[in-house]
Amino acid sequence: MSLATTEATAATPPAARPRRWTARPGEAVAFGLVAIFLLAFLVVPVLTVVTVAFQDRATGGFTLAHVGDFLSNDLFMRSFWNSLYVSLMSVAVASLIALPLAYFTTRFEFRGAVLVQTLGVLPLIMPPFAGAVAMGLLFGRSGSVNLLLGDWLDINIPFMEGLNGVIFVQSIHYFPFILLNLSASLRNIDRAMEEAAQNLGSHGFRLFRRIVLPLAMPGYVAGASLVFIKVFDDLATPLLLNVREMLAPQAYLRITSVGLEDPIGYVISVVLILFSVLSLWVSSLALRGRDYATVQRGGGGLARRRLPRGQAVAAYALILLILALVLAPHLGLFLLSVATVWSFAPLPDGYTLAHYARVFAESSQYITNTLVYAGLAGLIDVILGTAIAYLVLRTRMAGTRWLDYVAMSALAVPGLVLGIGYLRTYFGVTLPNGTSLAAFWGIIVLALAVRRLPYALRACTAALQQISSSLEEAAENLGARRLRVVRRIVLPLMAGGIAAGFVTSFATAAVELSATLMLVQSNADAPLAYGLYVFMQSPAGRGAGAALGIIAVVIVGLSTLASHLVAGRGGKESA
């Protein structure tokens, strides 16, 4: 796959030339391979499941009656508007959290920038169940914060109740999408732009608003559209807060009822998919007709700006405050993992390391499996993401945009639906050694890759949008062959975006549960999220589950740090 992609992308001349309507052979091959992958592992499996939405129960023929039921049902329409409201508000709040973190750490001399960037990714890794319990213990009605507030001031703040609770938790959970993509974009901006503006007398907020933010728009839009679509399609958080009047939980609750074949659940899934694609199209309008490419990378110009002393103190204070808020759930998770019993009290009754001992004794295979699965899935995602981004932005082939839309629709497909689809499509296929293809651990990797592809895809697209094609033209004029252009010019310049995409895909794949739970067929092949699930089903397993969650967070944190360092080095070399 990777070889073909590289050749294909290499076969592309700069986009600035006049329109061509025929595709180069390499491009066509890349297009074909990506399309086959998406068809085989996303479109076909999902279709085998969701066709129920348009089937007449009696005759099996086509019908729109279920869609009519959906439209005429008050509950579903209310759910739709709630989902829309929550998604928009979450984008707004997540932007408020992410903007200062991204801006200060990339455009200024800022000590600990890499640390802040790394810690800023951790909220993405909210281990299933364990994260929920930890959040409840801290922010719930009887959580630490409210128990203390009740003692001191006799008030109770409903952090985790209703739609506002969903917005609160979703913003904390998903702002790293904006942080990662925006940071990657900001690093790519030529510092000469800021210097020129400063020379002309612009500074402070005006400089940020008029120069820096507009130039970083591709990254911001990539992150914001991910937050929007993800929140719109997310079911874990609303269910954790017991908010049911949103679309994704409604679909989930109906699909997962034992023994019921209610088509409405699948109708809602189809609506979610269509709406995700629609919102992606709307967000692409925001960038249409503008050119974000700069010839110089972020390394150009003079040194990074310095903050005056007073402003520096304020910036550090703001960033520490934000980090304290967004990392609170992980503090709760850590306390839970070393607690003996923690019940209706601000802090645990006692502390122990027994949970970690139990996890390492019983389930170390989960850790290696997770690293392998999530790593492979992340790799597949950046390869596909780069290929699709290149096809969309650098070629004029008809239908490339549809690859983008189809790949993004994976965000809206419930994991359970994908899992069932895989079993339905691939269980009958046997491998040479006689076992079913669906029982092979590689199928879990593919499921993870498909579910997390949208993250890498948005990051890669944003990165490529910022590269001026004149650089590629220049290289070609100097006689470089296309393969060499891609390897020496395009990929190094995209490194930051690709790293951001890999981190997001990897981090979120490491804690994916719903499709995994359907596809795992032996304990030896199970990833960490499955182990977490197994622990969290019993009171005695709560601490062990939290310990496994902390291990997941540490693993992802270290991987993020490593990829920041690698991307940083790559960036310096290319500059």
């Binding site: 007449d56 129960r57 009696a58 279920h66 039921d69 005429s72 049902n73 509950l75 319990v133 409840g136 719930g140 009605r141 009887s142 959580g143 269910l239 017991n242 049911r244 609750l253 009822s257 034992v258 023994g259 019921l260 074949e261 209610d262 409405i264 019993v341 019940s343 209706f344 009290a345 019983e362 295979q365 359970l416 899992g419 339905r424 009958g428 046997t430 006689g434 076992t435 079913s436 669906a438 029982a439 651990w441 739970l517 359907m518 795992v520 067929q521 032996s522 304990n523 030896a524 092949d525 499955y530 699930y533 197994v534 622990f535 969290m536 089903q537 019993s538 009171p539 005695a540 709560r542």
Partner: protein
């Protein structure tokens, strides 16, 4: 990660061949891998795995943990090339679905000393497809610290939970999400009758804080003190006590004890191993494992209770539930999906309206307790009747016209979504009217 499966697969095949050749000598032929799909946690499965593998050297018990939905789906979707030997779970409805789909194999274990019934419930499926291995009762669990902090008395009966003091302190799973909660609701309906039963259910539902989507969410919330009182299956509370949480549990008088089950999956690759595991579960050794602090389920072998710690509940000595209550399985099956959908529409989607009306009634009642007023009392009774009103009678709920809408196949009646919309609208109107009546009562009370 390691490619152990093909090897074990061949061994399992070998075991099957050996079993069929050896004929009568089946018991000795147990070997290879026994694959079990289960919704039980590691705390339950691990002790059984250890003991079973020790009792049958050469066998491994491969535990695939899935939640009940995923487990049922998995067995359904992989039927063409089945690799699962056993399905092991609590929810009786999951087994019903598998049995109806023809995905189970009948097996009558050779075990001694296990009665045919526990209370009103048969231990085993009459056709031999499903075998009960442990019993569980339904009841009320609470967090002692939470109760002390909020000065709440300990509840004993379902009706207690409808009292104003408990408003916003209770948590439950929707019956459509949890087969065990479904049985709780169905038991109340059969124990108290359709109309009165629904009045009781809506009574305590008006005091709910939350309805969770997975059954373990309820003990999770009570254990951590997020909510004070949960409506749960008994072992959730007992195993939490075993893990040190400050929780207590009570069986209300209208309750039932039902078996948690295991069944052999059709075309099991290791049939001999599957049967051996069921026999092991039902042996005295297997039954005693149920008494471990992190498991705490009720054995189906009455003799095992002699080894139980003091105060261990025993369904065979008449201390749990009503002695004369008979659970009618036929009635339950006929209206299964209807009861779930009714709860979802009357309580689930209208929880805010129901809570508002219940709170209004509770406030007036608290005032009337200080200074009585007959006119206000009459208005409150009207408000309560409005809350209790049902869109369908017991007969209609079991009729083909209504129950057929939930079968997933075509039928003469309306589609499921149409019915649900109608019921939700019915409940919304009644609760609004009830809240208005309660407001009138408040005025009358002065």
């Amino acid at each position: 990660m390691r490619f152990t499966q093909p090897v074990l697969g061949r061994r399992a095949l070998g075991a099957m061949a050996a079993a069929s050749v050896a004929g009568a000598a089946r018991a000795q032929a147990v070997s290879g891998k026994v694959t079990v799909v289960t919704s039980f946690s590691n705390d339950v499965t691990a002790p059984f795995k250890r003991a079973f593998e020790a009792a049958h050297p050469g066998t491994t018990l491969e535990v695939q943990s899935r939640n009940t939905t995923a487990g049922v789906r998995f067995v359904q979707e992989t039927r063409s090339n089945n690799a699962v030997d056993l399905f092991w779970a609590s929810a009786p409805d999951a087994f019903e679905v598998l049995k109806k789909a023809g995905l189970l194999e009948a097996y009558r274990p050779q075990s001694q000393g296990i009665p045919d019934t526990i209370g009103p419930y048969a231990v085993n499926d009459p056709e031999g497809f499903v075998t009960g291995f442990a019993a569980s009762g339904y009841g009320i669990m609470w967090n002692e610290r939470y109760m002390r902090a909020n000065r709440l008395p300990e509840p004993k009966e379902w009706a207690d939970l409808a009292k104003p003091a408990y408003h916003d302190h209770i948590i439950i799973t929707a019956p459509s999400r949890s087969g065990t909660t479904h049985l709780t609701v169905e038991t109340i309906l059969q124990g108290e009758g359709w109309e009165k039963g629904w009045a009781t259910i809506k009574g305590f539902s008006g005091n709910l804080r939350q309805i969770t989507e997975r059954s373990f969410g309820v003990p999770d919330a009570v254990n951590s003190g997020q909510v004070g009182i949960g409506i749960v299956i008994d072992f959730f509370a007992f195993s939490a006590q075993g893990a040190g949480f400050p929780v207590k549990f009570a069986y209300p008088s209208v309750t039932t004890v039902v078996p948690a089950n295991i069944a052999v999956v059709k075309n099991a690759p290791n049939l001999a191993g599957a049967k051996a595991f069921i026999d092991f579960l039902l042996s005295v050794q297997g039954q005693e494992i149920l008494l471990e602090p992190t498991i705490r389920r009720l054995p189906v072998n009455p003799a095992v209770y002699a080894k139980a710690p003091a105060g261990y509940p025993n369904p065979f000595n008449g201390t749990i539930g009503l002695p004369n209550f008979r659970f009618d399985l036929g009635v339950s099956e006929k209206r299964y999906a209807v009861v779930d959908a009714l709860y979802d529409q009357l309580v689930g989607t209208n929880l805010d309206g129901l809570k508002r009306a219940t709170k209004a009634i509770g406030d007036v009642e608290t005032r009337l307790a200080r200074r009585d007023n007959p006119q206000a009392r009459a208005l409150l009774e009207e408000a309560r009747a409005l809350i209790a009103a049902m869109p369908v009678t017991a007969e209609e709920a079991a009729s083909d016209a209504v129950a057929g809408s939930f079968s997933g196949r075509g039928g003469p009646g309306p589609r499921q979504a149409e019915l649900e919309q109608r019921w939700a609208g019915f409940a919304r109107d009644k609760y609004t009217a009830a809240a208005a009546k309660a407001a009138d009562a408040a005025k009358a009370a002065g």
